[in-house]
Symmetry: C2
Subunit: 252 residues, 2 copies
DNA sequence: TTTGACCCTCACGTCACGGGAGGCCCCAGG
DNA sequence: CCTGGGGCCTCCCGTGACGTGAGGGTCAAA
């Protein structure tokens, strides 16, 4: 049994032109022609086409596909195993992308924008030293950033909801005291700062008093954090920094 | 903070030329230029680029991407949700392909070649009546084929190994009796036929005596089955058919 | 001030087809 | 017998998403 271009095209979900093209470049030439020059595809031609379409779908160029298919040692099972492996990798990649999207959603919800590195994390498979260095510099040379990343990747939806809730409570606590005119070194305000520090330590990275003070500075100096506080109440960022400092001084 | 083409290209893992191209076609024009005409990408330009690359990876044309991104109601979370959904679908598709590959592997191991429809099942998202009809005709108008497909999709590796094992035992049983000169309606040969029927019923589809007889006929008429038996011993296909008939007659 | 890394704008090349034009082949129906 | 319509052929130009220089400005560091 053999098949015409039209039949094969219908089977495989490609156009006749595509089959002509594959013939032209020698990727898939039908094993027979009729007297009138009509292409006739055999069973094993279909086999080859199936493989071509498979590798094409996974993003290989036609040239690469030709190389793969014409490799000596072209056992059918070998191909199937390779395809299985490629699919597994591709699924893993997409799963990573799903995670990245979820992270971005959380970031969006929490009102924090990402750094360029974070944004494209899932795309660049390379991580040149240059940018890694820059990130380190930005985060004060500590490994807090890395630690945070490692921990947060394991968090579930529920964890994130809880984190968001706690963060909102802390913010509300500071805002209430601030608007009531309580000074930044008031007892309850310092307690709020301490709860804030515990929150960070628990969910993100070990946050000592020194680091907490650094974070407080960041809240007034880094606009992406400042915005988060200032949008609740003008001057709140500075107030929170002062409270954090007062708390750190009290403890040491 | 703004970034040059080179920096952005490095972040995003694309070439400078690509960014130029996106500028040319108006898909992503940097929000600023220096006096010397240098492109300067802002934070929100990066945001847009990230989305462009995302949709591109999922196979959208640049024109389509432009339409998606310039849709009114372009909330960030909406995009993220859409991306999440698209990824889910794509993963589902790849998972289907994995299953198809596994099926093909089993078919290969069991020494049965596939029909064109089966081969390209995973590619054509359409299922025109024409071919569905042909398949029905081929399988005698019953729904045994569908039933088999439904059941076997849930099978694990272990199941398949066991099935293969049982099939091999059945074959060996027939072959032994055949080569010992036992007639096809011998007691033990009919018992082997009955075990064969039970095997089919258990793992693939309800196989009554009539259907079993049909299957026996298939073993001598359909070359893809015949080959499997004849390669063990010449004349075995006919012998198995006769045994199946004898067993069916005995039972009714 | 010079050097080298980076940037600019043309402009042609490439890959994987799309989409006709113009013309055989072949069989069912009048 | 011939005629119409569907499928097939080759030839060839078009397109989308860039690759790849050529030829020439820009700019911080040495």
């Amino acid at each position: 049994m053999s098949y015409s271009v039209g039949q094969v095209a219908a089977f495989a979900g490609v156009t006749v032109r595509t089959l002509h093209h594959y013939d032209e470049i020698g990727l898939l030439s039908p094993s027979e022609r009729t007297g009138a020059g009509y292409r006739r595809y055999s069973e094993s031609d279909l086999d080859r086409l199936q493989r071509v379409l498979f590798y094409r779908e996974l993003g290989f160029s036609l040239e690469e596909i030709a190389a793969i298919l014409d490799e000596p040692g072209l056992d059918a099972l070998t191909h199937l195993r390779r395809q299985h492996e490629l699919l597994r990798k591709r699924i893993a990649r997409l799963t990573e992308m799903v995670e990245a999207v979820e992270t971005a959603m959380e970031a969006q919800i929490m009102g924090i924008s990402l750094t360029p590195e974070e944004r494209f994390e899932v795309f660049g498979d390379f991580r040149p030293e240059e940018y890694a260095e820059e990130a380190k510099e930005r985060w004060g040379g500590t490994d807090a950033f890395e630690q945070s990343r490692r921990r947060t990747t394991a968090y579930t939806k529920e964890d994130w909801l809880r984190i968001k809730q706690e963060a909102a409570e802390a913010l509300a606590g500071f805002a209430a005291a601030y608007e009531a005119g309580v000074p930044a070194d008031g007892e309850q305000v310092m307690d709020a700062a301490e709860r804030h520090r515990a929150h960070i330590s628990r969910w993100f990275y070990d946050c000592g008093y020194e680091m907490h003070k650094g974070l407080g500075e960041l809240y007034v100096s880094d606009p992406r954090f400042t915005a988060n506080y200032e949008s609740t109440a003008e001057g709140l960022a500075r107030y929170v920094r002062d409270a954090i400092h007062a708390n750190a001084d009290r403890r040491s």
